[in-house]
Symmetry: C2
Subunit: 313 residues, 2 copies
C-alpha cells in the first residue's frame, strides 16, 4: 500500500501527517510557520520536512502516492492563491511550487476549512454518510460542504459560508461583512464572550462566570459543562441562531449530517442540544432530519482532509 502526506498550513504552525492510502494516520508532527519574505519559505520547508521524514523512515520516493495541502484562504481550481493574508502570499500557486520538489507525485491544495470538512467526511463523524456539512466554531464561524465525496466550492467560492447568514434578530452589532444578525457574531468564540459579558451586566443571577477577571470562550464553555445556569443560557442563546441557519441550509442542499467542530465545540453536547433546538424549530418540512453531531478528529481534521484530497482521487 502506498503512502500519502497530508499538510495543514496555518499562520502559526504547519502540521504534517503520514497516512496509508486508505487514510490511516501513521505519524504526525508540526513545525513553526516561517512567514518571512512574503511566505516564500513555507513550501520549501514543507518539502524539506517531508523529504527528511521519508529518508529517516527509509521510505522510497516510489512509495509516496502524493501530497495534499490545506491553505488558510481561498484556493482557485489548480491551486492558485490570489491572496492569503495569514501566510503573506500574493498571487502564488503552492501546488506548482511543491511540484518542483516532487515532480512525480500528485499534489493538491484546497481551502483549509473545506479540507477539514473533507477530513471529518473521510475518517471522522461523517465517515458513513454521503453528504455532510462541517461547521467550525472558532474565532469566527466557518463551514465546508461535502457532496458525494467532493468539496462544494460554489460559483463564487462561498458555498457553506454559514457565518454570514443573518439568523439572530436580537443583534445590535454590525458584522465585519456589513450585515446585522450574522451567525458569526454569536456562535463564534468572540460572540460567546460578548454575549456572556452582556448577560452578566444585565442580570443579577449568581454564576461561576463572575469569578473570572477576563472571560474567554473556553471558560464559558467549561462553566456550561459544569452546569452553571448562566453559562448554559449564554451557550443556548449563542447557538440557537446557528440551528436556524442549519435549517435554512437543509432546505438548500439537504445534507445527511451536520458536524460541529472547532475549539468551541469542545464544550460538547451542550452545544449540540442548543443547535438542535434552533434547527427543529425552523424545520417543519419532513420528519426525517439531518443528524447534528460533534466532530471527532479535533486538530487532525486538517491533515486527514489533506490526505483525502489525494486518496479520493
Amino acid at each position: 500500500m502506498k503512502l500519502i502526506f497530508g499538510v495543514d498550513i496555518g499562520g502559526t504552525r504547519i502540521k504534517i501527517g503520514r497516512f496509508t492510502e486508505d487514510g490511516k494516520l501513521l505519524e504526525k508532527w508540526s513545525v513553526k510557520t516561517d512567514l518571512s519574505d512574503h511566505g516564500a519559505h513555507i513550501v520549501p520547508l514543507v518539502a524539506e520536512e517531508i523529504q527528511a521524514h521519508r529518508k529517516a523512515r527509509g521510505i522510497s520516493e516510489e512509495k509516496v502516492l502524493g501530497i495534499g495541502m490545506g491553505i488558510p484562504g481561498p484556493v482557485a481550481p489548480g491551486g492558485f492563491v490570489e491572496k492569503c493574508v495569514n501566510l503573506h502570499w500574493n498571487a502564488f500557486n503552492p501546488v506548482t511550487e511543491l511540484a518542483r520538489f516532487f515532480p512525480n507525485h500528485q499534489i493538491r491544495a484546497e481551502n483549509d476549512a473545506n479540507v477539514a470538512s473533507l477530513g471529518e467526511y473521510f475518517q471522522g463523524a461523517g465517515r458513513n454518510v454521503s453528504s455532510m456539512m462541517m461547521v467550525t466554531l472558532g474565532t469566527g464561524v466557518g463551514g465546508g460542504v461535502i457532496l458525494d465525496g467532493r468539496i462544494l466550492v460554489g460559483a463564487h467560492g462561498i458555498a457553506g459560508e454559514i457565518g454570514h447568514i443573518a439568523a439572530d434578530p436580537t443583534q445590535e452589532e454590525i458584522c465585519n461583512c456589513g450585515n446585522r444578525g450574522c451567525i458569526d457574531q454569536c456562535a463564534s468564540a468572540t460572540g460567546i464572550v460578548r454575549k456572556a459579558e452582556k448577560l452578566l451586566a444585565s442580570v443579577d443571577q449568581p454564576s461561576a462566570l463572575r469569578d473570572f477577571e477576563t472571560l474567554t470562550a473556553k471558560e464559558i464553555c467549561d462553566c456550561a459543562k459544569e452546569k452553571d445556569p448562566l453559562a448554559i443560557r449564554v451557550i443556548e442563546e449563542c447557538m440557537y441562531p446557528l440551528g436556524v441557519g442549519l435549517a435554512y441550509f437543509s432546505h438548500a442542499f439537504d445534507p445527511e449530517m451536520y458536524v460541529i467542530g472547532g475549539g468551541v465545540s469542545l464544550a460538547g453536547e451542550v452545544i449540540i442540544k442548543a443547535v438542535q433546538k434552533g434547527y427543529q424549530e425552523q424545520f417543519f418540512l419532513t420528519k426525517k432530519k439531518a443528524d447534528i453531531r460533534l466532530a471527532e478528529l479535533g486538530n487532525d481534521a486538517g491533515i486527514t482532509g489533506a490526505c483525502a484530497l489525494i486518496a479520493k482521487e
Copy 2:
C-alpha cells in the same frame, strides 16, 4: 442523430416532445391525463402516444435513444414513486412500467420541478452556466437545484425547497408545513392575492386593483406591469422575502444563477427587481453575486428537462 422523447406528466395533461439528442425541440403535443383506476392507464397512454407518433412520422425504433419523464411528486432513485397524489399512484414505478413497452431504450424519471430546472439549465436561461437554481412561482413555490449538470435531490429529498424558508417576519398566517413566515405564503399566486386583499382593505390609495370583483394573481401581475403603484407594492412586498431566501441559499450552495419561472414570473422584470432587492440586502459577503433572471422556456421547461434526463446521460 438519434431522437429523445421528453414527457411531462401533470395531473391534468401529459405533454410530450420529440427532441434531437442534443436537445432541439422538433415537435410537441399533449393529451388529457386519464386518472381512472389509480392512474394505471397513464404510462400505457404515454407509450401508445409515442409509438403512434413515431410510426406516423416514419421513425424507426432504433432511431430513438430514450424517454425521460417528469412526475409531479417525489421520485426515488431508479424511478420508484411511493405516493403521487396528483396521479393517484401508490408504490408504483413508471420507469419499469414504461420499459415494458420500450425494452431496448433508456428510460428515466425525476420529480417535475427538478426536471423543469434541468430543462432551463439545458436549453433555457441557464444554458451557459455550470450551477443554477430554478424557483417556480405557481400556486405554491417550488425549487430545483442543478450542480454541474446533475439534479441535486438531497439526503431527504428536499434540496432546493425554498418555499419553506421562513423569511417573512410580517406574516401572521401559519403555513401548511406548520411554520410561520414561509416564502410559499407570500411569493406564490395564493400569497400575492392575499397580500393584495389585505393592502386594499388597509389603505385608501386608488388602484386599478379595486375594479376587479375577484382578484387573481394574474390580474395583480398585469396591473403591476401597467405600473399601478399599489400592484407594484404588492409584488415588491411578496417578492422581497424570496430575495432574502435566495441570499441564504447563496451562502449554502452558491450557484452561478437563479432562474425565476412559473405563472407568476410572467409579470416579468417587476418580479426580478423585487427579488434582487431582498437578495442584495442580505448578501454582503462578496461583490460577485449570482445572476437572477427570468425563465425562458415557459411550459416547455418540463419536456425539455425530461429530454435532458436522457441527453445528459
